[in-house]
Amino acid sequence: MSHNKNARNPLHKPSPFQADTPDMTPEQKEQVHVHNVYQAIAPHFSATRYKPWPIVEEFLKNMPSGSIGADVGCGNGKYIGVNPKLFMVGSDRSSNLVGICSERGHEAMVCDGLALPYRPELFDFAISIAVIHHFTSPERRLAAIEEILRVVRPGAKVLIFVWALEQTGRRDFDKNVQDVFVPWAMTKKGEPTGRAGSRPQRVGRNDQRTTSLTASGLSITESVDQFTIQRDQSQELQIHPSASTLVSTPISTPSLPTASAQEDAYVAAQMMNANVVDPAESATPVFNRYYHLFHKGELEDLVAQTNKASVVQAGYDRDNWWCILKKD
């Protein structure tokens, strides 16, 4: 397994690097470098995911009242309540993320994107936002799109977002490397530590801005969004996005956990064979999430291969390629 030298230095933002795991099957790679990672980072991840992306928001707000939709890979469910006139069912591989979703009052279940448990041709629309880039082979990415198309009715629209290889600015990707690990690092802030054990802290219903970040002593540095979350002196959590388009948002903290999130995260990281820095040195577990970075046109090519849908709209937004497809 490759090691990211930056991960050893908590002052350094971890950089993406080539995913080189010749001994793992696609399924194993997803288990270790996607499912296990999201389970471990769920509350922290959720705290950085509250602002709907405008294209997704517009897609949902334009759906006729009463439409039913599937959110495949719903994460913390941030899109499910965007348009209250719709009925949406979320699903995700991470039971910890689905738990957060459910606490918010959303309909959600744990399942695999390649085996959705729905009756065929049921939904009026579907979304899959930042999900398909986590499948580790071309066949599995194609199968993921086909499975979504199986459960929507003819004429239904499906919105898909995937991470772009060509992204510029905030991240420095090697344009020749499409399969990468993007580290998620947790660094200690010196405050009383919290417990981030197996059960995630839950978030207040219908309040996308209120979160109970369990790891009260942690700050989270993520190379994806360049957010830093930290506990300040007043015990209020602040999110400081480094992107100038976002404003700082105070976040309330309902409960103060007891034990060490650091230790829990470290143990979790060890168990999943993640890239871990010795806790005695800096207590900085680093979780390497697998991504397949899509090149321009690759998503449309996959859609064409299904022979079951056509692309009606496509574009580039926030480091992602996206497209809206219509099922034949």
Binding site: E107, P117, Y118
Partner: protein, 123 residues
């Protein structure tokens, strides 16, 4: 899990393609929770519901308010739509299990969340 969602689920174990719906609810704990009524949604859902399966499931749960056959004027029958709303949107399964009538695969429901994950060999 609301009862409407149960009406959407089928067994998806590999090779289990017939008689795999509806999943049989067993040992369930139900809870009523108020929700805002959306008639557009209910009318849209009428075309998607497997009504007979819904009625059969409700009977097993001792919910006997639904007429055995879908009323012809269901779309505009206020009283019926209200009953339907209460049953499919306000009735939650908090815990229990769902068993496939064909292959007997069992899916658990905990904290209101169905776990529909399959083992690798079942996908």
């Amino acid at each position: 899990m609301r009862l409407i969602t149960h009406n959407m689920l089928q067994c998806h174990v590999r090779g289990c393609n017939a008689n795999n719906f509806p999943l049989e609810l067993q040992e369930v704990v139900l809870e009523q929770e108020e929700a805002e009524m959306n008639e557009d949604f209910l009318r849209n859902m009428l075309g998607k519901l497997e009504y007979d399966a819904l009625v059969a499931t409700c009977h097993k749960l001792d919910i006997n308010d639904l007429p055995v056959t879908l009323p012809e004027d269901a779309q505009y029958n206020e009283e019926f739509l209200q009953i339907l709303h209460r049953i499919i949107l306000e009735t939650h399964v908090k815990s229990g299990k769902m068993v496939c009538p064909n292959c007997n695969h069992t899916y658990s429901i905990r904290d209101g969340i169905p776990n529909m994950l399959l083992a690798e060999h079942e996908v």
